[in-house]
Subunit: 488 residues, 2 copies
């Protein structure tokens, strides 16, 4: 048995255990009885300790070094690349620090939830300051000469930097601000009817299947915050349901279906190996976004969906497919990122990106964060934050120490823009198919071009390969948004 | 930190991981998508390998020996007793053998299912012979001078032996054979109506709550074969539903509620420690049986249930509470253990006990097992086995290597008989309470006398303590059955 085989056998068990830990997290959000929270924390902690011990095992490092010195096969090199990343990251962070971050963020999440419920930023600021202090320490441990914030981004989007994101956002911002102003000048229809919740869930299942989700290797449940979870042959999605807003349920489902189809679409040869998962948060988000937005919210697909919803719900007060299309894509003045339309969404991200960059650089203190948020929001959106739960306390991410995560949402949009432009060339009949509710050729193209590769190529590389070799840029997304929202 | 503290900290993580493994098994029976089976086998295997490595860790042995040499506290001694049992058992079985047993029984279970479906014992006999060969090896490894079968029983019921079971069954057999003959002379009513499945499940939840199950620390789902799973604050139960046989659903639920209440009722101070689980299969079964039978199938409780079912299902063709009581307790000629009434159930167990004892002793070959089963069945029940799926292939246990498990079902009945006799003295008002559908005082008595102790006392000891110091015998169960079925 070669060092590579030996290493990969160990990684296989580690991947299997990581799947178990992931399923435990799924259970926590969907099935766990409420009284089990305290015991569950111990169970999850024990699983994380097992995984951490395996990730930092010195024998892993030895086998890895030995395998690296001989492996020539491209796939083997890609596997070793991921193991190296993971091993270095795990061993560079001191064990005490890793434990301290895990403990603190668990506590901080609870304090964030309480502060948000009480609309009280001051109650959250001290623990956030402590989270930032530890995350800066963690970043310093792994940075090896890079900026601290770049070291954090790398965790979610390998090889991405703040400088490249700065350039990307600089290109996006003026065009989005302009498009937003034009879109807000117009009236947008709003649904005003009751939609049976069970029927919404039935339609959700139909849409997931329609977009290629394989229920034989997954399931759909309810969760407060929809998510997708798992890899390989057990990839589960969740949705939520609101009787007055069926789009919440239906488009959450399509979004999570995109994430899940990425995982389900990975080459089965990579199952339970380091290549057997989506390669980055940005590429993951590109799949969820293109399923949800470019396909699911297109004029063609919403035309079909309008008919299907009329069959299921009867007349719900929307006169025609054109009005329905505009209701699905409604642009409105809001404060909340997760409720934002395609145009304004990236403005929410830029705000967070600039603030968290400054927080990690030490250029902004948590004492000044609320004011900084409110100022920037008013500057970008043209109206004030009405309360802090609609402002700086709206997102859970920072309490969890997830600095460098927000920009991957916009990267996903940008990647989706590139993929969509190429897909339209590759599937000339796309609109006619979507108008019949058929997504099969589009999703098959994504599976072949992106999904099946799993972790085989770097994030920007997998997108570039799918797009005829061109490096991803914001241009195609901005053109798509102009075309869609400019005249809607 | 003392060796004891150090050891207990490690055990706590091991217990937490065992809970995770248990929840994975629960997921497999209730939630897992069917296409995930192969991947799940790898996930479960990786979890079992982690647990096995922890159980056999030499450092555990060292700490254990050191702690044993100093511990004086009774509770600490009880904890160490369980750790010693577990450590010796895990280390005495060679690693290769443990892996071979796990692999073989996994395969054998599949072959058993196929053979049962095809009514073909010959297809199963060779793999069963191989299972027996390995289980004999395993028993020899842990026996330390005991009979092989005693060594296997000890896995499920510490300190129990075949000789004691022989004596117990010898006392039971003549009285049960006689009672059975008298009961079968009479006519028994059968339900013949449709019972809405959702309503059955609603009533199931009501009954589980009624018997003290805490839904804040558990949940009820559907499974092909009902079971209870988990300890501490996350104890889940399952049931099944058949539209023509509501008793299947309702009494499966009450049975699993008994198991679950045992786990939920254990002293919270023992949570995630070796004392934090039911002490043996026999004591576990005593709780499920007393909930299901002595309480749930009593004349008093069925009187209340009859009224409740009339409210929910309307007139379902049963004229009065007396007829309903006899329908719940119907004695009939059948072949299947799991469908047997309280009288005949133990005859099914005795048959299996004698056969598996002979199989492990090497006095019976698998080639002769089918004939031996059929002969014994006809001798005990007075009619022939009609097909092998109703005979020797009806139970999964032997394919899984669970030799020594069957007698714990009868031990549970015997323990329940003892507990019930004492409970009637301790709760003089019991019948009147049950007639109002109130089980609170009875289940509180069981919690105080039995459940809260977890693994604190040996199985027979915990029953004896609850029963005024008397060692458990079959007498009280037989008296109860005579009283109940003699004149019904």
């Amino acid at each position: 048995m070669t060092a590579y085989d030996d290493l990969m056998a160990q990684e296989r068990d580690t991947q299997a255990l990581a799947q178990v830990a992931g399923r435990l997290a799924w259970d926590q959000e969907t099935m766990m009885p409420r009284g089990a929270a305290e015991q569950r924390a111990e169970e999850s902690g024990a699983m994380q300790a097992v995984l951490h011990a395996r990730r930092t095992d010195a024998r892993r490092g030895d086998l890895l070094a030995e395998a690296e010195s001989v492996a020539t096969d491209e796939v083997a090199r890609a596997q070793l690349h991921h193991i190296r990343r993971d091993y270095d990251r795990a061993t560079l962070v001191p064990g005490d620090l890793a434990v301290a971050v895990a403990r603190l963020t668990s506590r901080a999440q609870g304090q964030w939830a309480e502060a948000r419920a009480a609309d009280d930023y001051a109650a959250f600021a001290p623990v956030l300051a402590e989270v930032i202090r530890l995350k800066r320490e963690e970043a310093a441990a792994v940075a090896r000469g890079r900026d601290l914030y770049d070291a954090l981004i790398d965790d979610f989007e390998p090889e991405m930097t703040a400088a490249r994101l700065d350039a990307m956002f600089a290109e996006m911002r003026p065009r989005l601000v302009d498009l937003r102003a034009r879109a807000l000048d117009r009236e947008w229809p709003v649904l005003d009817a009751h939609f049976d919740e069970q029927a919404q869930l039935r339609l959700s299942r139909e849409l997931a299947r329609n977009f290629g989700y394989d229920f034989a290797r997954g399931r759909l449940d309810m969760a407060v915050h929809p998510f997708s979870s798992g890899s390989g042959d057990d990839v589960r999605i969740t949705t939520r349901v609101s009787e007055h807003d069926p789009f919440n349920c239906l488009y959450s489902t399509i979004h999570e279906t995109g994430h899940a189809c990425y995982e389900q679409g990975i080459d089965p040869a990579y199952r339970l190996t380091p290549l057997g998962q989506g390669v980055s948060m940005g590429v993951h988000e590109s799949q969820s976004r293109i399923y949800e937005n470019q396909l699911g919210r297109s004029r063609a697909y919403t035309g079909w969906l309008f008919g299907r919803m009329r069959e299921m719900f009867g007349d719900f007060g929307v006169a025609d497919a054109g009005t329905f299309y505009r209701a699905v894509n409604r642009v409105h003045r809001g404060h909340i990122r997760t409720e934002a339309d395609e145009v304004q969404y990236n403005l929410h991200i830029m705000l967070r990106f600039d603030l968290e960059k400054a927080l990690i650089a030490g250029d902004l203190s948590t004492d000044d964060l609320e004011a900084a948020w409110n100022d920037r929001f008013e500057a970008d959106f043209g109206y004030a934050v009405d309360r802090v739960s609609n402002g700086v306390l709206q997102d859970v991410h920072w309490s969890l120490g997830l600095f460098g995560y927000f920009p991957t949402y916009s990267l996903g949009n940008v990647y989706a823009g590139c993929l969509y432009r190429t897909m339209r060339g590759a599937v000339p009949d796309l609109e006619a198919q979507l108008a019949r509710g058929e997504t099969g050729e589009a999703t098959a193209w994504l599976r072949t071009q992106v999904q099946r590769h799993g972790g085989r190529f770097a994030p920007a590389q997998v997108i570039a390969r799918a797009c005829g070799g061109e490096e991803p840029t914001a241009g195609p997304l901005l053109d798509y948004l102009d075309e869609k929202f400019g005249g809607m």
